[in-house]
Symmetry: C2
Subunit: 260 residues, 2 copies
Amino acid sequence: MNTQNDPVLSDLRKRIAPSTTRYEMFAASLVADIESGKYPVGCMLPAEPELCSQYALSRHTVREGVRKLVEMGLVSRQRGIGTRVISKAVGPNDFTASTSLETLFSYIDGTWLKILGEKWLTADEKLANILDCKLGQSWLEVTTCRYQQNISQPLSHTVLYIAPGFAGILPHLGELNHPVYRLIEEHYGHKVRDLQLVVTALSIPPEVAAWLQCEPQSPGLHVVRRYRGTNDSYLSNSVSIYPQTRFDVSIRYQLNWSGS
Amino acid sequence: MNTQNDPVLSDLRKRIAPSTTRYEMFAASLVADIESGKYPVGCMLPAEPELCSQYALSRHTVREGVRKLVEMGLVSRQRGIGTRVISKAVGPNDFTASTSLETLFSYIDGTWLKILGEKWLTADEKLANILDCKLGQSWLEVTTCRYQQNISQPLSHTVLYIAPGFAGILPHLGELNHPVYRLIEEHYGHKVRDLQLVVTALSIPPEVAAWLQCEPQSPGLHVVRRYRGTNDSYLSNSVSIYPQTRFDVSIRYQLNWSGS
DNA sequence: AAGTGGTCTAGACCACCGA
DNA sequence: CGGTGGTCTAGACCACTTA
């Protein structure tokens, strides 16, 4: 079926919906069917040949439409298996913030860690909560301060929690410009796949303030970072305290798949 | 040119690079050329027909390859114009944080704004810096507190800066569950395309602490939010102060286009 | 072996931009 | 007007999964 050459349909498209293409209408129809429950979450979408004949579209157009649903996070496709509905479109994740790990940790340039202490410990309830790990799990705790070149005041007070198995990076922690995740990647080949940040405010405790050379009880940023690796296991975690004005967290979200 | 049927090439692909397709090799070649400076940032990529003949690929394959570069944020395409290099790929933006505006503002559920004061002002240097706008620009400043249902302590002290032209939302600001961006969308049809967040720590000033019912000089989160609309103009900005423990900022970055 | 999604070609019309 | 990227068709081979 070729409607591209059809002057009536072509004109109609121009007047009624100038920017709505066939694959977009098709995608919108699929989205509606998923929202309505015709294709419940977990079930398979009809295979491409069937969609082609159902909607009288070429396979390329069908694929373009389904690709849009993949981008929206509604379905996932597997070669040899099919296309599965994985979300109900209620709240599509239409805003994205993109960076590289390098950008995210650009503040580390020209800084190094001074190690204040280290010890092995097992997670009690409080720590398990902070690190989002199981009770009784074993971690190497390293207390540090991050210093900037040519500046006597440290940037932050950071407690690192390193997963057992990666303790070998300890001798290299003090090196310049080497965030923990990169040390783990260099020495063990484990790449970060998932980074979680939780930012809160706190009143800087006196013993930490002494290290940071700031007022005790003055306000600071409290940043928990959780690094998860390729196999979903935690590589390391860190709890950082930044005095006011020495650090900020900046994020920029942008709309992605244009309209609709 | 059809290499799909070529047993030699097919076998070679299987042995040497089992998962590398033609459009991926083509994309990798473009990336290399952009990184090397053959195509500097700001210049145009060759048009599709030329890429087709240069690489001996069909147009579909070329488009698939260029699409990958678009996803990586290296180039942007404009119909009628061409494909422009917009980034040097030095650090590919391989980590993304995805949410919806609804999720981002889920803390607004069950809260409303109490308006403490309002006035028109023009941006001096300090304000222009906070709002990232031009000097002398006119804004409607609305000072508010956000209250939660059944809780007497307010969640935050928020100063809104509303772009001239959207002042009509003022009577609706106090409504339940209505973030500013949604009011602007409902009343003026302008959608948010870009949201920037800057989080710092501060010592809560006494006059704000009185409203927030917290200790003067106690630590708090200082969050600047900038909402930009479809045409790159600012819709509104807000400066919020949250007492310690009443709010946190949580972000989750994930690796996206798998390998490499 | 049959069916799935992934890649690829060849050729076409379209909307948009700039000269 | 010619050139750009955007959409579309028809038909093909491929890798992968399941039975």
